[in-house]
């Protein structure tokens, strides 16, 4: 199986789906002539031309709204944000329009669109550019929130997202763009709403997503050398949440640590922790611990930023507390 980057996997997904369906088009800042601010859309303009690969002005609210309505009209737009941090100026369009129009119309319209771009901290770009907004959007009932951690899922989930008849919030992570792994060629669809066990273990369950999956895996590696086998669940889709897999795992391990980059207050891990105590109270041998970003804005200084973010060290520490 070919080994490609997360970035190339995303590119493949978009190109294959555009090949498949003329209603699919991509728009965003620098997606066409510049070949993508992060090169995810590289080569698409040459392949599909300016009708379907469209450079926009710096107007996230405007072009997001455009895409919402184009979707209700039957097209399948892919909106690229240079980073999800810029989605804040399009919040009304995402939440009130993409997120409510079908319901408010009594189900008359479909909104088959994908909004995608990178997110996350660790890049020393400060407080305005480092958001991880999955919990914000997961709070909107009609929005589906996907956060792939590996190249195969980046491709398979993006292809599924483009084919979905519903609005999909597709949150990539910049520090994963150069991550390389095996990715199936051609048709490869990953089911939306299904988590995946990325490492099996019997002593404790780590529940993570996106870049935090890699932190959890690193922590599991460290613990393995100390005789502790951690199971690592990559949620892949934040909402709908695959609690079946979480429950199945915790029934075996009876212990859990949640690893997320959201700020702690009402991060997605708070929801998962609630559900674990609500549905699996009797299965637990210890309280669940969440390892999230600290409750502070993202600092520029590298030492401070590293201190703020969830790390494999913090995960190890939390696991030891849960196992104690």
């Amino acid at each position: 199986m070919p080994i490609i980057t997360y970035r190339q996997a995303l590119n493949q997904a978009i190109a294959e789906e555009m090949e498949r369906d003329d209603n699919v088009f991509i728009l965003g800042e620098e997606v066409a002539e510049y070949n993508g601010a992060y090169k995810v859309s590289e080569g698409l303009l040459d392949k599909f031309g300016p009708r379907r690969v469209i450079d926009t002005p710096i107007s996230e609210g405007g072009f997001t709204g455009l895409a919402v309505a184009a979707a209700t009209y039957g097209l399948r737009p892919i909106v690229e944000y240079m980073t999800w941090s810029f989605s804040l100026v399009a919040f009304d369009q995402i939440i009130n329009n993409a997120g409510q129009v079908r319901y408010m119309a009594g189900g008359q319209f479909e909104v088959p669109m994908v909004i995608r771009g990178n997110s996350g901290g660790g890049l020393r770009v400060g407080a305005t550019h480092s958001h991880t907004p999955e919990n914000w959007y997961a709070n909107v009932p009609a929005l589906t929130v996907i956060t792939p951690a590996f190249p195969d899922d980046a491709k398979g989930l993006l292809k599924s997202a483009i084919r979905s008849n519903n609005p999909i919030i597709f949150i990539e992570n910049e520090i994963l763009y150069n991550y390389k792994d095996e990715v199936p060629e051609g048709e490869h669809l990953t089911p939306i709403g299904k988590a995946r066990i990325r490492r099996e273990g019997s002593d404790i369950t780590f529940i993570a997503n996106s870049a935090s999956t890699h932190r959890a895996l690193e922590a599991a590696q460290t613990l393995a050398s100390q005789g502790v086998e951690a199971e690592v669940i990559d949620l892949r889709t934040i909402k709908p949440l695959d609690f079946d897999l979480i429950a199945e795992s915790i029934r075996r391990t009876n212990r859990a640590v949640i690893v997320e980059e959201n700020k702690p207050f009402a991060g997605w891990g708070a929801q998962v922790a609630y559900m674990i105590q609500r549905h699996l109270f009797d299965e637990l041998d210890a309280p669940v611990i969440r390892v999230a970003s600290l409750d502070a804005p993202q600092p520029y200084n590298a030492k401070l930023e590293d201190y703020l973010m969830p790390s494999a060290d913090r995960v190890v520490k939390a696991a030891k507390a849960v196992l104690a």
Binding site: L66, G106, P240, F243, D244
Partner: protein, 360 residues
């Protein structure tokens, strides 16, 4: 009744005289139909106000009285398969689009038979079959949607156009300017129709918007800007025809500013303390329905008796709509979870409501 000014003497009309030559002459039936639709909108809204006072309509209810010539005149020069989208003062546009008064009234009463199944309410009317794309509650939020509808029309080579209505208050939302810029850059066939009813809720246009006329905003984007007199349905019609022609034949966007007067408050809960009774009375002297009625009588298209017949048939239709709404059922409680997600057709169905509840 109010005294009627001739259109040529309207004080704040900055429009030139209507140019009926630009349009095919209306048949007697078409004129009759336009007058009847304006009356229908007015009486529908009066019924809505009554139902609101009886607390049968809850929440916010923004009535269109005084602005009927805008919805009816603009609608009269587009095709059934063109798209229309507006803000929360949407009853008039919906009716002018040909939506069923019964379904509209039922929506106001929150009933399952409503045009949005009782889930949208006054501000969120929709009818896909009529190419009516809402009914949007956030000021200015519909302006990029109008852009997107027209974009999709162009992308799919339909030769259709989109009318996107907004109020004078909405022109100060940033997303409207983002939309104008994109519309002009990409030559998107959307017509933005600013319904300038002189008040952004309770803030007069003079206190709310720099630049007069408001349509001057078009020039910054190299777009056509067209002003019409919203109290004169023929003027609205003629001016809209110019804008539609630009969109249809050259795929060019434009902005229209159509001036009218909102007879009632911003919404039903607005006591209108920011303006005088005298102002309201003066404005009502140039009532769009009275003006058009008199014009049709003068040109021999209708008689007073015809007008009385219109009032009688509209009265019956509105009464029937109201009774239909009253007698319709509420949605079932289980329906609260319906219409959130579209069924999947290209991928396996996504399990949305697993046995694990997110809440209690």
């Amino acid at each position: 009744m109010h005294t009627v000014d001739k259109p040529g003497r309207l004080k704040d009309s900055s429009s030139s005289a209507p140019q009926p030559a630009a349009l095919p002459a209306l048949t007697r039936d078409q004129k009759h139909g336009m007058l009847r639709m304006m009356v229908l909108i007015r009486r529908f809204e009066e019924q809505a106000e009554q139902a609101y006072l009886r607390q049968q309509i809850r929440g916010f209810c923004h009535v269109y009285s005084g602005q009927e010539a805008i919805a009816v005149g603009t609608e009269s020069v587009i095709n059934r398969d063109d798209a229309v989208i507006t803000a929360y003062r949407d009853h008039g546009h919906a009716l002018a689009r040909g939506m069923c008064p019964k379904a509209c009234m039922a929506e106001l009463l929150g009933k399952a038979t409503g045009c949005s199944k009782g889930k949208g309410g006054s501000m969120h009317f929709f009818d896909k079959s009529k190419h009516f794309y809402g009914g949007h509650g956030i000021v200015g939020g519909q302006t990029p949607l109008g852009l997107g509808l027209a974009f999709a029309q162009k992308y799919t080579n339909t030769n259709r156009v989109t009318l996107c209505y907004l109020g004078d208050g909405a022109i100060n939302q940033g997303v409207f300017h983002e939309s104008l810029n994109i519309a002009a850059l990409w030559k998107v066939p959307v017509i933005y129709i600013i319904e300038n009813n002189l008040y952004a809720m309770g803030t007069s246009v003079a206190r709310s918007s720099a630049g007069d006329p408001l349509v001057k905003r078009a020039s910054g984007y190299d777009m056509a800007g067209i002003v019409a007199n919203g109290m004169d349905v023929d003027d609205v019609r003629a001016k809209t025809a110019e804008a539609v022609n630009l969109a249809r034949t050259e795929s060019l966007p434009s902005i229209m500013e159509i001036r009218a007067y909102r007879y009632r408050g911003h919404s039903m809960t607005d006591p209108r303390k920011y303006r005088s009774k005298d102002e309201e009375e003066q404005q009502r002297k140039r009532d769009p329905i009275e003006i058009y009625k008199q014009r049709l009588i003068d040109d021999g298209s209708i008689t007073e008796k015809d007008y009385d017949d219109i009032e009688a048939s509209v009265g019956a239709e509105v009464k029937e709509a109201y009774e239909f709404a009253l007698n319709s059922p509420d949605p079932e409680l289980e329906e609260v979870f319906d219409d959130i997600f579209a069924p999947e057709t290209q991928i396996d169905e996504i399990e949305r409501r697993p046995k694990w509840s997110y809440g209690d």
